[in-house]
């Protein structure tokens, strides 16, 4: 009798409420709602906050290019740089911007390989951030050389002197690493954009939008034979970007580590630079995404859970950076090299002690607040901490002039100008990818049309 009863009742596995996953898109929004909301940001009227931000960013960008013009016309003496073979702020700005970019590739590639489906809500904006950050970074190595018109000597192009670049130098590795990083990030970003550009094309009302979105969508139809190749290419690009992003900041760190300078000549530099890069980059992602989430009313797509998860990544990488700071000090003492130890003692207790301790408190202590769920889920606090996370990674070693300072601030203007343009004219969230992680996209879910009891 009991057996008979069991056979008659269809067995539907019931998930206990405490194990139920929080949906990635809140309020059970439909597929069409996602298109309408995300594409609507681009299609709607230009908001006032955008015009004001753009005017400010654009002005600061003009200051950046004016400073560079002044530098080119006059010479590197306009900076506070008094050592002819040193880089001064250029190298710190370069390293800082490259580092900012790393979080974008982490989100787009590494989290994809790790099947972190929450990445879909933030990957488009983070990848855009990567590209614009690398553009800002690329300015500094070019302008630091003084005679900018010889910049092309870095490339292996035959020149009138019949000499070639010196491939034994980490500085040349840098040229290849950074230009590869820029190109691959751009390809990855564009490939991710193709299905969404098709969405924009199909929704377009004006002729110019139809033509431009149509051209860049390359005739995408959403064919499954296409999706099959597309997904394979996406997977391979993610697989190639992962070793790439780990190598780029490693190569950047070789610029320092290969030198004989005490405090820099250490093997911890590559992993330490990579962790620091992802750490500061995530801070920047949070700073960019949190205001946009409110301004563009995207709370259902970028949920509190997304913010919490990003906070956890900041905590993890911040702790790695803290470990690296500690280990540097330990090895300086344990290695028994008096010059090395002196360099570190001087860094923490010498004339620049304030910079060192600001860095420690912002980069190591501050993110530890993310251990608390109440902190991680408070949007305002997360926003404030996110700014602390990356600001002091760029610390001063000497007295900068106004040109140094404004060139650096100016690149932030350039970055914001590019980012605002992106936000205004392209879908800032990967529409097709977010649709793919909704329950409607799952053919075995009731919302995806499956019948109760399982369809197959």
């Amino acid at each position: 009798m009991a057996e008979q009863l069991i056979r008659d009742v269809p067995i539907i596995p019931v998930t206990p409420p405490e194990l139920e996953r929080i949906p990635l898109v809140a309020h059970r929004r439909s597929l069409g709602w996602l298109s309408d909301t995300i594409a609507g940001i681009v299609e709607g009227k230009t908001p006032m906050w955008w015009k004001i931000s753009f005017a400010i960013a654009f002005t600061i960008m003009v200051v950046c290019f004016s400073c560079i013009t002044y530098l080119m016309a006059t010479g590197v003496g306009v900076w506070g740089l008094m050592v002819p073979v040193a880089w001064a702020w250029d190298i710190t700005n370069f390293v800082w911007w490259i580092g900012i970019g790393h979080a974008g590739t982490l989100i787009s590639a590494i989290l994809f390989l790790l099947r972190q489906r929450w990445r879909t809500s933030i990957n488009r904006a983070a990848e855009a951030m990567t590209i614009f950050a690398v553009i800002c970074a690329g300015i500094f190595p070019l302008i630091h050389i003084g005679r900018i018109w010889y910049g092309w000597w870095l490339l292996p192009i035959p020149n009138a002197n019949s000499i070639w670049p010196q491939f034994r130098s980490p500085l040349l590795w840098d040229v290849f690493a950074v230009s590869t990083y820029f190109t691959v990030s751009l390809l990855f970003w564009y490939m991710g954009l193709i299905p969404d550009l098709a969405t924009m094309r199909d929704r377009a009302r004006t002729k110019i939008r139809k033509i431009l979105y149509g051209l860049f969508a390359l005739g995408w139809t959403g064919s499954n034979r296409h999706w099959s190749n597309y997904e394979k290419a996406y997977l391979i690009l993610a697989g190639l970007s992962t070793p790439l992003v780990l190598s780029v900041h490693s190569v950047v760190s070789f610029d320092f580590a290969v030198s004989q300078l005490p405090g820099w000549h250490t093997t911890i530099f590559p992993p330490y630079f990579v962790a620091g890069a992802i750490f500061s980059g995530f801070g920047m992602v949070l700073t960019l995404v949190l205001p946009l989430r409110t301004l563009c009313k995207l709370q259902d797509v970028i949920t509190i859970r997304h913010i919490e998860l990003m906070g956890k990544v900041v905590l993890a990488t911040g702790s790695m950076v803290g470990y690296a700071y500690g280990m540097e000090f330990f090895i300086a003492w344990y290695g028994g090299n008096p010059y090395e130890l002196y360099a570190f003692k001087n860094r923490a207790f010498g004339p620049y002690w304030w910079a060192y301790w600001t860095m420690i408190s912002c980069n190591v202590i501050c993110p530890q607040l993310f251990w608390f769920k109440a902190v991680r889920s408070n949007v305002v606090i997360v926003f404030i901490i996110s700014i602390f996370v990356y600001i002091p990674s760029n610390c001063a070693y000497y007295s900068p002039t106004w040109v140094d300072i404004w060139t650096f601030i100016g690149t932030i203007g350039l970055f914001m100008t590019l980012f605002l343009l992106f936000q205004r004219f392209l879908p800032m969230i990967a529409i097709a990818e977010v649709k793919g992680v909704t329950p409607q996209a799952d053919p075995h879910h009731p919302l995806g049309g499956a019948k109760v009891g399982g369809h197959h």
């Binding site: 390359l218 099959s228 190749n229 597309y230 799952d442």
Partner: protein, 179 residues
């Protein structure tokens, strides 16, 4: 649409992921060859439902990567050890260690470019004109609808039978595409 235009095929609309996945297995089992499924996002399990094999994009990436690594190594040997050899710091003229970082980056660079181009070549994209866009409903494919198109030049295509098959598979709307 005027009857004088050539018939390209039949386009059937579906309303859910489960419905399109089921319909794809029906069309596959009926033995059609020249047909396709159109979805707003990649549907998990659709490749099996359509009977598609593994994508060939990987071969493009592999060839690109090998080309990149070889180019890097040969370029560095030729430039720094052969064409203009300078001894720097008593180090060997060519060592795989110092040549590695640049070759590694070139592997990734050419591998990535080849993957993207491979995807476009295999998909025959960019495509400037496609008769399927003549359907007024098809623009919803990037919104929230799902479609199956069976081409008229498929050997099994028959106007009435194919239409019945698509309707029985659960399509809410079947239309002809003409060009």
């Amino acid at each position: 649409m005027p009857e004088s235009m050539n018939k390209v095929g039949l386009l059937a609309e579906f309303e859910s992921t489960a419905a399109i996945l089921h319909a794809a297995t029906v069309v596959r089992d009926a033995g059609y060859r020249r047909w396709d499924v159109f979805t707003p996002f990649p549907v998990h399990g659709m490749d099996e439902a359509m009977g598609l094999g593994n994508s060939k994009v990987g071969w493009f990436s592999f060839i690109g990567g090998v080309t990149g690594f070889t180019t890097g190594m040969v370029m560095i040997w030729w430039m720094n050890a052969f064409d203009y050899s300078i001894i720097v710091g008593g180090k060997p003229l060519l060592s795989p260690i110092y040549a590695f970082p640049v070759s590694y980056e070139l592997t990734i660079l050419l591998g990535s470019i080849a993957s993207l181009l491979g995807m476009l070549v295999l998909n025959r994209l960019p495509r400037l004109y496609n008769p399927i866009f003549r359907s007024t409903r098809f623009h919803l494919v990037t919104h929230d609808r799902f479609f199956i198109a069976i081409e008229a030049n498929d050997p099994k295509f028959s106007d009435s039978e194919t239409r019945n098959l698509l309707q029985n598979a659960g399509s809410t709307h079947v239309e002809e595409v003409r060009d």
